[in-house]
Every structure is written in C-alpha cells, then in structure tokens.
Symmetry: none
Subunit: 219 residues, 4 copies
C-alpha cells in the first residue's frame, strides 16, 4: 500500500510573509489564486464564478490573476491540471508487486478516499464531471492522460486477477469503469445530496469490492 503513496501531492500552501526570494513569492501567489479559484468555481460553477471574487479571496488584485493566467478559462484548466496531474503520476508509479489483486484495488480505493475524496481534489474531480463537457480540450486531456491510462492499468491488473482465479470471469476486464463507478457517484452525490443524506464513501466502496470479489473473510 505504501507503494501507492502519492507523495508530491500534499502541497499545502504556507504563507510566511517575511523576506522571500521573488520566485517563491510568485509561486505562493499562484497557489493562492488557484486555491481561491477552486473555491469559487466549486461554489458557483465556471460561468457564474467571478474573477473579482477569486482575486478578493486570494488576497490579490484582479489584474494580478492575469499575470499568472491568460484568461478565466486558462485559470480553470490550469487549476484542474495542476491539482490532478500529480495524483495520476502517483498512480502510475504504483508497483503491483505480488499482492493479491484485490489488495491492490483496495489500496487504490483507499488512496482515492484519502487523497481525493477527503481533500479539495474531490472538488476538482467534480468540476471535471460537471464542467468538462463545455471544455472539450479539458475532456480530451483528461481522457487521454487519466482515464485511458488508468483503464489500461486497471485492465492489466484485472486480467491478472482472472488469470490467478481471483475473479470468476473477465466481466470487469471489459468494463473497468465498474470499479470506480461508486467513487464517481459519491463525488456527485456529495455535491447534491450530502445535506440530506451524507454518504460513507469508504464503506460504500468496500461494500462494492465485496460484491465484485466476494466478501472478505474477517481479519
């Protein structure tokens, strides 16, 4: 599981307003803008979010945003890419080793819960799901850089599970989306219905794995 560590992913902004080299201050500003943009885009959607509010929230002038991002759309796309690409990198670095496939997938699920669902990245993922259609280049990027690669990796893994007898047949190999479907649903659900009925992602996803792989024996 340690192998699935997404190391470079925990970039939390720390602001020490003391004397720092220009480059550092610039980078910090960029981070502040991205964080503010995530807040605003998540709360109101891409179109309704106002650059003015992003600036205010980031504590910078409106013009400053345009020093870092060409326009509103670039800010949006950079935001999405900046916050998800490192994660994907982490994913690809994962070494199957010789564990049972189910364990690996469980690790993956836990990584998702820990590093995505329980962080701001959940909002980024939700933005892709909700706004992606209006940004074909983003959808394309995300498809080729994330979805396709993840599915390929997944398929290899699942194929191995079939070969090992961990899975009865190759149904999942054909539709690896089924593995992540509950995660997607949880992200959507949390945006729409959490106030009415919060969802326990971790429990749901493990239940899901039980259904796919058979119930785990109690430890």
């Amino acid at each position: 599981m340690a192998k699935l560590r997404a190391s470079s992913v925990t970039s939390e902004t720390v602001s020490i307003p003391a004397q720092r080299p220009r480059a550092v201050k610039t980078a910090a500003r960029r981070e502040a803008i991205l964080a503010a943009a995530l807040d605003e885009f998540s709360a109101r959607g891409f179109e309704a979010a106002r650059i003015d509010d992003v600036a205010r929230r980031a504590g910078v002038g409106k013009g400053t945003i345009y020093l870092h991002f060409r326009d509103k759309e670039a800010l949006f796309q950079d935001l999405v890419r900046t916050m998800l690409v490192p994660l994907v990198a982490g994913l690809e670095a994962a070494q199957p080793g010789d564990q049972p496939v189910r364990k690996l997938i469980e690790s993956f699920v836990e990584l998702f819960v820990r590093e995505v669902y329980n962080t701001r990245r959940r909002d980024v993922v939700r933005l892709i799901l909700t706004e992606g259609q209006r940004f074909p280049s983003l959808a394309e990027f995300y498809y080729h850089e994330v979805v396709e690669r993840a599915m390929t990796a997944m398929r290899a893994l699942l194929q191995r599970a079939v070969a090992r007898g961990e899975l009865e047949d190759d149904t999942l190999v054909k539709f690896p989306q089924l593995i992540v479907a509950p995660g997607i649903v949880a992200v959507i659900w949390s945006g729409l219905f959490d106030r009415y009925k919060p969802i326990d992602v971790s429990a749901m996803m493990h239940a899901h794995l039980d259904l796919l792989f058979g119930k785990e024996r109690a430890p």
Copy 2:
C-alpha cells in the same frame, strides 16, 4: 417487464401549423421552448445558455418565453421537472408481481436504458448531475421526489431478494446506490468521453448485474 412501461412519456411534438385551437398552439409553443431549452442548456450549461438562442431555436420571439416561464431559472427547473416527473410516476406504478428480483431489476435497467439513456431524458439527468449543486431547491426536490423514493422502493426489493436467497447478504440493501452507479457513470461518460470511446450502457449495466447477482445462465 411490460409492467414497467412508461407509457405517457413519449410526447413528441408534431407541428401542423394548420387551424388548431389556441390552447393547443400555446401548449405546443411551450413544448417547443422546453425542447429548445434542453438543447441549449445541455450544450452550454445553465449560465452560458442564452435565452435569445432558446427563443430562436424554438422559433418564437424572446418575449414569448417570458409568457410561459417567470425567468431563466424557472425555465430550467420546469424543464427538469416536466421531463422527469412522469418517468418517476411510471416507476412507482411498477408492480413487483412474483418475479425474481433480478428480473425486476433488469426490467428497471432496461427501462432506464430505453426511456432515459436513449432519449432526451439522458440530457435532463445530466443537467441535474452537473447543475444541481447550484439549484438547491432543485436538488432538494429531486432528492425527495426521486432519489429517496427510488431508494426506498429499491431497498424493499433487495430485502426481498435477500429473504428469497437471491442475494447472499444485505450489502446492496445498505447501498442501493450501487445498483444505479453504472447508469450515472454512463450519463456522465457520454457527455465527456463518448467521442473518444463510446460506452455500451446496456452491456455495462447487465455486466454489472452479473457481478452483483451472479452470471445469468445463457438463455
């Protein structure tokens, strides 16, 4: 399966500009506006959609829209409710009879594919998923009127399946969302990635059922 027919749902507008009573023409106009609105909202999202374009597409003057809907948001919400509520009614009318639960769920899945996924209603569902967060009243309506009721019905059904021995345990009873998750994912996917890799919902959902209930014996 016939019992899951959603009969009154196929209202397609046909325009014969001949002599028709005014009421009919007015209703037809309303339908045209709703259809155009669905197109525009789906293509660009709520915020970016322009009333002007809806009007043009519907073949009416801009002011006419305001004779039928208080404002842009009312148009959006009416659209969503108008197109989904009849379906829910159909769902609730479904009689379990004495069929195996799996058959019932298959019927449900097929109804979804036929009456939602393969129709304009897929776009309506997608609009809820993508815009619902910005319309709390819509999310609330949809949660109480559709999600909650559907989950309750589902749970009863699944409970019966457990009692009958059709399901090994009550995992699904706890997370009935898992039944529909692939459907949700398919709706999202079709908006984002269909151009890169179209998805076969029906096959995926049946594969999903195979995983949950065990593979069906070949017919």
Copy 3:
C-alpha cells in the same frame, strides 16, 4: 358665486351592465380607461405606468385601449384634456356681475378647492405640473387654452379692482400668477409631503387672499 358653477363637470361613471346602446357602452369603456389611466399615471408617472395595468384596472383587454387611443401618449394627453377642458369652459362662463373683485376671486378659489383640489382633477393638474415638460404639445395646449386665458381674465378682474380702489396698486395685475401660486404649491405639496404634514388648502388660500386684499372683517 353660483355663476361660477362648473356644471357639466361631475361626470362620474355609473355602470349598468344591462342592455345599452352600443355608443353608450363604448363611451363608458372610454371613461373606465381614462379613470384607470389617471390612477396609474398618478401613482407611477407617465413612463413607469404600464398599459397592462391600466387595462386590468379598467377591466378591459389590453388591445381595447388601442381602440380608443392611438398610443400611450395619446391616452395621457386625452386624459388631461378631457378632465380639465370642461373646467376651463366653466371658468370662462363666469360673469363678474357687480360684486367686489375680492368676492369673485374668493369664488374662484372655492371653485378650485371644490372642483379641483378635492377631486381627481387635482391629480390631473399634478400630472401637468410634473410631466408637462416632457410633452411640449401638452404644455403648449395648456398654456394657450388655460393659462393664458385665465391670466387674461384675471388681469381684467384685477385691473377693475385697482380702478375701484380694492387694490392699492397694480402689482397683482403684473403678476396674476401670485393669486394661484398657493394652489399650485398645495397640489405639489399634497403629492410629496401630505403624509408628513397635511395641508389645509382652503385655509391657506384664504389666508393668502387676506394678505393680498387685507383681512376681511369678521362676518
């Protein structure tokens, strides 16, 4: 004083929806529209008043208004002329006889209070004062048909008062507006400040006459 009666001025609408000759019904409708228009124009001003509200208030369809008046402005101008012209006619019919001038002017003041200030005509006068500037043709009409004629008549009267020794000099002959100024002010005041401090026009105008002509001996 009886000579200043403005007889044909009390046209209050009475609606008997029974069988009436067409012409009568048409005229009644016109009256209803004018009455409604006065309400709306007075309450909101010419620009802000909506034809729709006038129609609703008059109990007719919106289109009906256009059967009686060319457009919104014609409605406004007809309204003003319809309700004031008969009054002016009454004024001109006044015969000085041989009464003291002060008595005549008092009669005039009382006519104003009774037939203008205490009736809907006050609102008409206010509309002229507040909207007249934007309707040059109305201002012109009103100047030539009412103001100029009234001033000429007034001047003749005042000249006589000077000749008779009822007035010390010809100051008022030069500025007959001074006679009516308090009436104008009262009309304006009643629209702006009556809720804070209602004004007693009659008392104020008689006080004004006392100042101009000397205090009347107690009766």
Copy 4:
C-alpha cells in the same frame, strides 16, 4: 445680506486632463457623471433618462457609472442630495442679526434667485417637485432635512416680525409656505411655459414681498 452667502456652492468642474492624482480624476469623473445625469434627468425625467446617454454625455463608459453609483436610482438620489445639501447648510448658517425681517427675507429671496433659480440647482429643485412622489425616501429626506427645517426657521423669523410690528398679524406664521410659493411656481413655470412667456422671478418675488409686507419706499 452678505451673511447669506452660500460660498462653497459654486463648484464648477474644470478639466485639465494633464497629470493629476488619481483621486482627483476620480472625483472629477464623479462630478461629470452627476452633471450629465442632471442634464438627462431634467430633459427626460427619471424613468425615460438612459444611463447610456448619461455616460456618453459625461464622456465615460457605461460601466463607470456603476463604479460610482449603485444603480440608476442611487445616481438620481445622490444627485439631488449632493446638489442641495450644501445649500441648506448655507441657509442654516444665516445670522439674523438685527436687521428688519423684511430685509432678511429679501436676502433669502435673492439667495434663492442667485444660487438656485439662476443655476443648475433650479433643475434639481424641479426634479424633486416632479419626481419626488415616486421616491418616498427622497421626499422624506427632503421634507425633514430641508422643508421642515426651513419652515421652522422661517416661522421664528416671521414671529419676530409680528412682535416688531413689521407684520400686521400672524397669518404668515401659520402658512410660511406662502413666502416661497412664487419661487416654486417659477421653477415649475420655467420648465413648462418659459418658451411662451418667460418669467422674471426676481421681479415677481419682490412684488410678492411688497404685497406681504407693504410696498417699499423707493430708495
């Protein structure tokens, strides 16, 4: 009379587009907008005036207006208050000294003619008279801040005139509005009828004073 000087009131905008601190330019812009707004509101009335025209006339972009004023109504109300409040302050600073009351009132009349009637403030006053009814908060402000205070001051003055024997009785004390009535009428008249018969306010108001206080002996 010098005591009634309304000194800080003659702020005419002078534009030297040279190097000026931003604050100055911003203030100048605000003034330009107010001046343009007065033109447009006076010419067409509040409702009919277009923000676009105000902007064009002020030589600024449309959006600029909204940097200075919340909306059209705020622009209107700020305009009225900005241009009259300093004057009222001037009024209140007036010291009666020991002059005859008539002299004081003459000074006041002359101040009105000089600083109101012969300036743009006449248009502001006219706007209050013609639009005030539709802006209750403005009417209220104006009543409490100007009318009421002015009337109180006036009454004190007139009371003194009675005590000194300058006035025969307290008629004017009861209706101090009679003092200013000709001024109000002149403002209205100038908007409606000046093109047909211009009015000599100063002469009219002095004639009015003659009538109230008795004719002045030639100097």
